[in-house]
C-alpha cells in the first residue's frame, strides 16, 4: 500500500518537498507515519511540533489506521487573510 504526504507553508520550505510517498504495511497508523517523518526530516522537527496532520482533508487521531492511497497533509498553523 502507498500513502502520500503533502507539505505546506513552512513544512514545505523546511523539507524542501511538495510531497513524499511511503510504502506501508497493513494496519499502519497515522502516528507511525508521523514518527517516520520526524526520522526522515530531522531539520523539520521544530516545524512538525507545531503541525496538525490530516488524512484526506479531515482531522484524524494519531491512532487512525491508514488505507491505500490515503493523502496525509502536514499543516502548520494557518495564517490566511
Amino acid at each position: 500500500m502507498q500513502v502520500k504526504v503533502l507539505f505546506f507553508g513552512p513544512a514545505k520550505d523546511t523539507t524542501g518537498l511538495f510531497h513524499y510517498s511511503y510504502t506501508i504495511e497493513d494496519h499502519t497508523s497515522l502516528q507511525a507515519i508521523i514518527i517516520k517523518l520526524y526520522a526522515d526530516f530531522p531539520k523539520a522537527k521544530e516545524v512538525f511540533d507545531l503541525c496538525s496532520f490530516v488524512i484526506n482533508k479531515d482531522f484524524a487521531s494519531p491512532e487512525t489506521i491508514l488505507k491505500d492511497q490515503d493523502e496525509i497533509a502536514v499543516l502548520p498553523p494557518v495564517s490566511g487573510g
Binding site: F8, G9, S79, G80
Partner: protein, 138 residues
C-alpha cells in the same frame, strides 16, 4: 461561495454579482497587503493554500454561519494565492441580507473563523530580499 484566485480581485465585479432585489444591505471587508512601520519593509505577501481542503472547510464554515445568522442571504470569500504586492487586496469578504442587522457582528465572526480554519499560509517578502512565514494574531 469561496474562490481562491491568482489574479487581482475584481471587487466591483463581485459587488455587482451580489446585487439582488432581495438584498437591502451588503457589507464588505477588504484586506490589503500592508507595509506599516512594524512590518519591517514588506514588499509583498506570498499566499499558499491547500486548495481542496480550503473549499471543503469553507462550505462547513458557510453552513455554520447560515445556521447562526439566518438573516444572511449570501456569503462570499475571495482569497488571493501567490504573490500580492503592498496595497493590493488579498481578501474580499461579502455578506448580504435584507437588513443591516447582524451583518456587522457576523462579518467579525466570519473573518475570525476563516483566519483560524482555512488552510492558507502567508509569507512576508521583504525589501532586503529575505522571506519569512507569518503567524496570525488574534
Amino acid at each position: 461561495m469561496t474562490h481562491l484566485t491568482k489574479d487581482p480581485i475584481a471587487i466591483q465585479y463581485w459587488i455587482d454579482q451580489y446585487r439582488h432585489t432581495e438584498v437591502g444591505a451588503m457589507e464588505l471587508f477588504i484586506g490589503f497587503t500592508r507595509n506599516s512601520p512594524e512590518d519591517d519593509g514588506i514588499v509583498s505577501l506570498y499566499y499558499e493554500a491547500y486548495e481542496e481542503m480550503v473549499l471543503a472547510e469553507a462550505v462547513a464554515l458557510e453552513n455554520f454561519m447560515k445556521q447562526k445568522y439566518p438573516l444572511i442571504r449570501d456569503l462570499l470569500i475571495i482569497h488571493r494565492i501567490g504573490e500580492v504586492p503592498v496595497s493590493e487586496p488579498s481578501l474580499l469578504v461579502i455578506l448580504t441580507g435584507s437588513h443591516r442587522q447582524t451583518l456587522f457582528q457576523a462579518m467579525e465572526e466570519y473573518i475570525d473563523l476563516l483566519k483560524k480554519k482555512l488552510p492558507i499560509w502567508k509569507k512576508g517578502i521583504y525589501q532586503d530580499g529575505h522571506e519569512q512565514w507569518l503567524m496570525n494574531h488574534f
